[in-house]
């Protein structure tokens, strides 16, 4: 067990993957000499050289498109998109090619590519640096979408994503990069796409992933002071989504609130609400509620505390779901 920040855990994980598999490449804007704007690739350029850790031209479509070509040639590229809002020049390559090529080739080719995207708000940034576009990828068959919430998962899930033969969109909770946690570097990790109960409880289930897990754990602690027992499910993977774990929790608590930063309209929460309603209709004591972003552009930094789901808004939803 070692204490590590999420950023460091990702860095160590990339290092391990580069060491273990000569086909692994790290590529993106500023990932080389600088070590990435968040320093996730710090030191890798120095230790593995420019043949393995590649500063690319400033062109996201180019980054993903060439990663596809490298994968076709047998490499396992791990590409960095500098910020969530800058993935869209690559969206065409991701949706029309990366997601569908395996099916198009009737399974004869594989595209083991990881696209790392620091995402989410809460860092006081300018426009395009705070978005949560996971739904736009989860909606596309052929892509896997995951997001760790803590250092240990960051460490293990990155390596699992790199080992995965499918394209994985790896959303990194950028405002938690510096949060430290225990990393069990030698223990056997949970399956990449398995949800876990991060905190057991009996009255209400909160389901979240990435940066919102911490908020939900804080909510659970606050609610405990008022005698309410909250269960927190860390989804970890958005596609595929481990509905079984959510269902098991809901069938215990009877109440579910899904929390994410992304807008609720057509969001992950909507999908979970629909599926859980189908699976657990008679176990539910209340409709599934969602707490998330609004149907509006991500606001300027000085409003983001109002926009982002925080303790108060989640507690409000807990109150409402318990009021039924």
């Amino acid at each position: 067990m070692t204490q590590m920040a999420i950023a460091k855990a990702l860095n160590e994980s990339l290092r391990t993957s580069l060491e273990n598999d000569p086909k692994v490449l790290v590529m993106g804007e500023d990932v080389g000499r600088l070590g990435g704007v968040f320093r996730i690739t710090d030191g890798l350029f120095k230790d593995f050289g420019e043949g393995r850790v590649i500063d690319t031209p400033l062109a996201e479509s180019g980054i993903v498109g060439t990663a596809i070509g490298l994968a076709l040639r047998g490499y396992r590229p791990v590409v960095e998109i500098q910020f969530d809002g800058f993935v869209f020049p690559a969206y065409d390559q991701i949706v029309t090619q990366l997601a569908k090529m395996h099916a198009r080739a009737l399974g004869k080719i594989k595209l083991p590519i990881v696209i790392r995207i620091p995402y989410g708000g809460g860092i006081g940034a300018v426009e395009h640096h705070s978005e949560s576009p996971e739904t736009l990828f989860a909606h596309v068959a052929g892509l896997k979408v995951v997001s760790p919430s803590n250092a240990s998962d960051a460490y293990w899930m990155m390596q699992q994503a790199i080992e995965c033969d499918d394209p994985v969109i790896f959303f990194e909770p950028k405002r938690r990069y510096w949060d430290k946690g225990e990393v069990a570097v030698s223990s056997v990790p949970a399956d990449l796409h398995k949800a876990v109960v991060a905190q057991a409880g009996t009255d209400v289930t909160l389901a979240a992933f990435g940066p919102m897990v911490k908020v939900c754990l804080e909510v659970a602690a606050a609610a405990a002071n008022e005698g309410r027992s909250i269960e927190v499910v860390d989804l970890r993977s958005i596609s595929p989504l481990d509905f079984d774990t959510v269902q098991a929790s809901v069938e215990k608590t009877g109440r579910l609130v899904v929390v994410h930063e992304a807008p609720v309209f057509f969001g992950t929460g909507a999908e979970i609400a629909a599926r859980i309603t189908e699976r657990s209709f008679y176990a539910l004591e209340a409709p599934v509620l969602r707490v998330g972003g609004f149907h509006a552009p991500y606001p300027p930094a000085r409003l983001e505390e109002e926009y982002l789901p925080g303790l108060d808004r989640v507690l409000d939803a807990v109150d409402r779901v318990l009021a039924y």
Binding site: E29, D30, G32, R33, L34, G35, V37, D55, T56, P57, L58, A59, S61, G62, G85, F86, F88, P89, G124, A125, V126, E127, H128, A221, A222, A223, N225, E226, F265, F294, H295, A296, P297, P299, P300, A301, R302, L303, E306, Y307, G310, L311, D312, R313, L315, D316, V318, D319, R320, A323
Partner: protein
Amino acid sequence: MSVKSTAARRTTRGGAKRRGGEPELVQLLTPEGDRVEHSEYSIDVTPDELRGLYRDMVLTRRFDAEAITLQRQGELGLWASLLGQEAAQIGSGRATRPDDYIFPTYREHGVAWTRDVDPLNLLGMFRGVNNGGWDPNENNFHLYTIVIGSQTLHATGYAMGVAKDGADAAVIAYFGDGASSQGDVAESFTFAAVYNAPVVFFCQNNQWAISEPTEKQSRVPIYQRAAGYGFPGVRVDGNDVLAVLAVTRAALEHARSGQGPMLVEAFTYRMGAHTTTDDPTRYRSDEEREEWASKDPIARLRAHLDKQGLADEGFYAGLDAESDALAKRVRDGVRGMPNPDPMAMFENVYADGHALVDEERAQFAEYLASFEDAPAASHGAAGSGKGH
């Protein structure tokens, strides 16, 4: 000021000759402040105009320095400094006419100055109170664009509209050396060439795209790319305000007179960090920066003014006072900028309204109001007693 040379018709000009491996660039004022002639570009400037350009650059630099300070003090969330690029921006901005339209990146504070955009307007997005917010049509100065390269297509489309309208205005699209790699920029070159759009592509090659040097973007000087699309390209000394002015005027005239697009590469240097969150010591040498410091655009014009005896102590003292006043106005203005009302999030999402936005607006207002009903529960506190 009059530009004597007319724009060339079709070929790539300026920079055909090579010296020491680097292509030649158009220069009218040496780093030592001496006027030189160029075979294709020349300019007549009155002492008044020279002092005006100097004033523009000094005030722009002062504004920029003030913004960096405000960021350090926590008044701004971020700042993208233009330090070192004053001549590229003032020279090109002053080349535009009021009816020309400007599409900036996020670093064009000097160009904004030449368009009479209130510097305080530029600071809103860096403070985090808006995402731009000024009216682009007021000064024909579009909003800052953060997504690299996007605006070059908008500029091209705008120029296509100008041409359709039969207007004789031109459009200028700013972008960086890094941006030159983006597909959007390549597509804008294609469209501009195919439709003969009256647009000038103005690339400030400041040698760096965050940590990546220009060699990571292009193996040929950027201006030479124009040839492949079928329009002229020229490299200008981006730290020479007179050369930038002359070349940009010629390029805009070229566009206005129906000859189509042109690419201007202003060869300059980003003297500061990429933004206030960047640490350039991780990827570039002090020597490089020092070398470029000796080509400083403001010192260069000052040397010229002094050698020619075109400005006296009174002028400089007056400008110092004006700089201080500008800095104070910016400081006070930023500190006085209120946080937006939370309900502003729901404004202007659509021009014609949207039922879901209305519903969420009402729900959020009710949610906020619930805190007023229940004074015991404070915002951000652990308690959830919200009157339910």
